[in-house]
């Protein structure tokens, strides 16, 4: 992997949110607490690459995305865009970089203003960033952007309102709004999870095409591992605010080292009635990240946890080429997982 292509590097990113005390708690002198939404995350993204961040709800994946976009400033850590730390910038200095990192949100029914036309939605960023001098110029750019996202002919879409568009078309409008600013990075937060299965692929393939053509980087946040395997080049798994494993996407889904990644993969149903049935390899549900578990955060649910797991935080280490994992017993876990020796924790699945 040529490290010279890094367009984004995130180092030691943390984001804590204060928890508001209830009235009675504050009367009793309760201590202020924080949610450790993101608690020390490092990763980088290369130009022309799709980097996936996957995890359950509450793992902090969306907070990473929002923090990297500086929609909310990090508590600590660096967000290096081509070497410049965005976390240190403010106001007009930061605004200069905003077009470079663009976002496509999860829900196209919420993320586009229903009272604006497609033209207004897509061109707004151009005016905000002083990238055009006239309406004519803006319209021309909007038309070009609509063509790029295959809303053709653009004349037919440009003065429509969102309610006249399908979900897939709205998500294309959201992509056009991002692309029109010539970004270097697109941050996509579950961009197809609200869409029907039959139209997911067209939005994803468009994202892949745009990435190829423009050589931009994409950060793809998802909870769907099967989809992530097909879309992402590299994939990181988050749990309670930290990355616990990352590798090439298809390697991660075929050779998961971390017991949590294994539990996720064993729980994904396969679209084949003759195929392997789902297994529950982790106890319970993701705990609160107000006071995350000590040591390895996964030890409370881990099928192979030992004493040391509750005491020592396992470091994220490169254990084979470009495959990083944070587990004291990853070797043992992987052996048991591949031999099918991990026992499901729930009531026995029917035979």
């Amino acid at each position: 992997m040529s490290s010279g292509d890094k367009v984004l590097e995130v180092k030691g990113l943390t984001k804590f949110f204060p928890v508001r005390l209830s009235f009675s708690e504050s009367l009793r002198g309760g201590k202020a607490r924080v949610v450790h939404a993101v608690d020390g995350v490092d990763f980088f993204v290369n130009r022309g690459e799709i980097f996936g961040l996957a995890g359950e709800s509450g793992s902090g994946k969306t907070t990473v995305l929002r923090t990297v976009l500086m929609l909310t400033p990090p508590t600590s850590g660096e967000i290096l865009y081509e070497g410049v730390d965005l976390a240190k910038l403010e106001g007009s200095e930061l605004k200069k970089y905003r077009p470079k990192l663009q976002v496509v949100f999860q829900d196209p029914y919420e993320s586009v203003n229903p009272r604006m036309t497609v033209y207004e939605i897509v061109s707004e960023g151009l005016f905000v960033n002083n990238m055009v001098s006239s309406e004519e110029e803006a319209l021309e750019k909007v038309n070009r952007a609509l063509k790029e996202v295959q809303l053709v002919p653009p004349q037919e879409y440009v003065f429509r309102y969102p309610h006249e568009l399908s979900g897939g078309q709205r998500q294309r409008v959201a992509m056009a709004r991002a692309l029109i600013l010539d970004p270097e990075i697109i941050m996509a937060d579950e961009p197809v999870s609200m869409l029907d299965v039959s139209i997911r692929a067209e939005v994803l393939n468009l994202l892949l095409e745009v990435k190829e053509k423009r050589k931009i980087a994409v950060v793809f946040v998802t909870h769907d591992l099967a989809l992530a395997k097909d879309v992402c080049d590299r994939l990181a798994i988050m749990y309670l605010g930290v990355i616990i494993e990352f590798a090439k996407a298809d390697e991660l889904t075929t050779k998961p080292y971390h017991p949590y990644t294994q539990a996720l993969i064993a729980a994904v149903p396969v679209p084949d009635p003759a195929g392997q049935k789902v297994k529950v390899l982790a106890k319970g549900e993701i705990p609160t990240n107000v006071s995350p578990p000590s040591g390895c955060r996964f030890h409370t649910r881990c099928p192979i946890a030992e004493q040391m797991c509750s005491e020592n935080v396992p470091p994220l280490e490169e254990v084979s080429r470009s495959h990083w994992v944070a587990c004291h017993f990853w070797g043992e876990a992987f052996e048991k997982f591949s031999k099918g020796e991990l026992t499901p924790v729930d009531v026995q699945a029917p035979g």
């Binding site: 029907d196 299965v197 692929a201 393939n205 099967a226 539990a263 396969v270 679209p271 549900e285 729930d346």
Partner: protein, 331 residues
């Protein structure tokens, strides 16, 4: 293996009257559900799959009306019964439903156990104390510790809430359970737990389940028989093993190609062009024809009927034989 049919639906049509016309949400659906069988109904949003469930439960909104067809459960014809009879004899007792998003419908100011026991009390008239003890048994049955009966919904996780709702639906030991998207909004490990729970209930109590979902993989995991629904109609149905390994309808094929499979090698997903039709004004002929790669004149003119392609495998397509040949050549 001839098992008893517990539910028989024939030629069911349910339309909604709206200002601008008639929405043909369920348009001629027939199937038989046998004892202990899981039927998966797969379809996209707006295909009428939830409306079908509401029609079977006779829980229709005021503008929804069953136009034609029959729904027989254990020999009783539901379309002939009035609301009071359905409430007294059928709903909860013979057939229960876990509606989509039901886990968010628990009342936040009552304890979970009390909410379950209230349902039992109302329908059986037993004492409050007995109802609560039954509620606890039900919670244990679905894998929630019975001490949690005293908890309020906000003290439950998403998965536990869904289990509580399933427990409630089992209160009067129905023979058929309709589960509409029972795992949407749940994380994948929690989802796996719910899948295994439902399958266990099926096995231990010979309960029949209708599973409604947009998720091909979820349906593959759970169903014995599967029906693919498009624009108010079943376009293909049969034994799951058969339909998944030998899909004949272009829509089924399209769904399979659009669906990511975690076991498969990295692949580019293929979309189905266009979007599902408006059921106010569905296309003439085959309703899938505007999106179909195989469509020709006959598809635009004549509506294909569900026909037997292989024993136990039904498909509604004029060209299923050609599709099958094409596929066997390309393999």
């Amino acid at each position: 293996m001839t098992k008893l049919a517990v539910l028989e639906v024939a030629g069911l049509k349910m339309y909604y009257g709206v200002e601008s016309g008639v929405v043909r949400a369920v348009d001629g659906i027939s199937f038989t559900l046998k004892e202990g069988q899981v039927l998966g109904i797969v379809g996209e949003s707006g295909c009428g799959k939830s409306s079908l469930a509401l029609a079977i439960m006779k829980l229709l909104p005021s503008n929804g009306k069953i136009i034609e067809g029959t729904i027989a459960i254990a020999g009783v014809e539901l379309t002939q019964l009035n609301d009071a009879q359905i409430r007294r004899k059928i709903r909860w007792k013979k057939i229960a439903m876990v509606p989509q998003g039901a886990m968010n419908s628990l009342n936040p100011v009552f304890r979970v156990g009390d909410q379950i026991s209230e349902a039992i009390q109302i329908h059986t008239g037993i004492s409050k104390k007995m109802a609560l003890s039954q509620a606890k048994t039900l919670l244990e049955l679905v894998g929630v510790d019975s001490s949690r009966a005293r908890y309020y919904p906000h003290e439950f996780s998403g998965g536990m809430k869904q289990r509580a709702i399933i427990a409630m639906s089992l209160a009067l030991t129905p023979s058929v359970l309709i589960a509409d998207e029972p795992t949407t909004a749940l994380d994948v490990i929690v989802q796996a737990g719910i899948i295994n729970l439902l399958l266990n209930l099926r096995k231990e109590y010979k309960m029949s389940i209708i599973l409604i979902s947009h998720d091909l993989a979820l349906v593959a995991q759970m169903s014995d028989v599967v029906a693919i629904m498009y624009a108010g109609k079943f376009v293909e149905r049969g034994a799951s093993l058969e339909v998944y390994s030998n899909p004949l309808h272009p829509y089924t094929l399209g769904l399979v190609g659009a669906f990511a499979d975690i076991r498969a090698a990295r692949e580019r997903l293929i979309s189905i062009p266009g979007s599902p039709p408006d059921l106010l004004d569905p296309p003439t002929g085959c309703r899938f024809n505007p999106r179909c790669p195989n469509a020709s004149d006959i598809c635009r003119e004549k509506e294909p009927e569900l026909e037997v392609a292989f024993p136990g495998h039904w498909v509604a397509c004029h060209f299923w034989q050609e599709i099958r040949e094409q596929r066997s050549k390309s393999v």
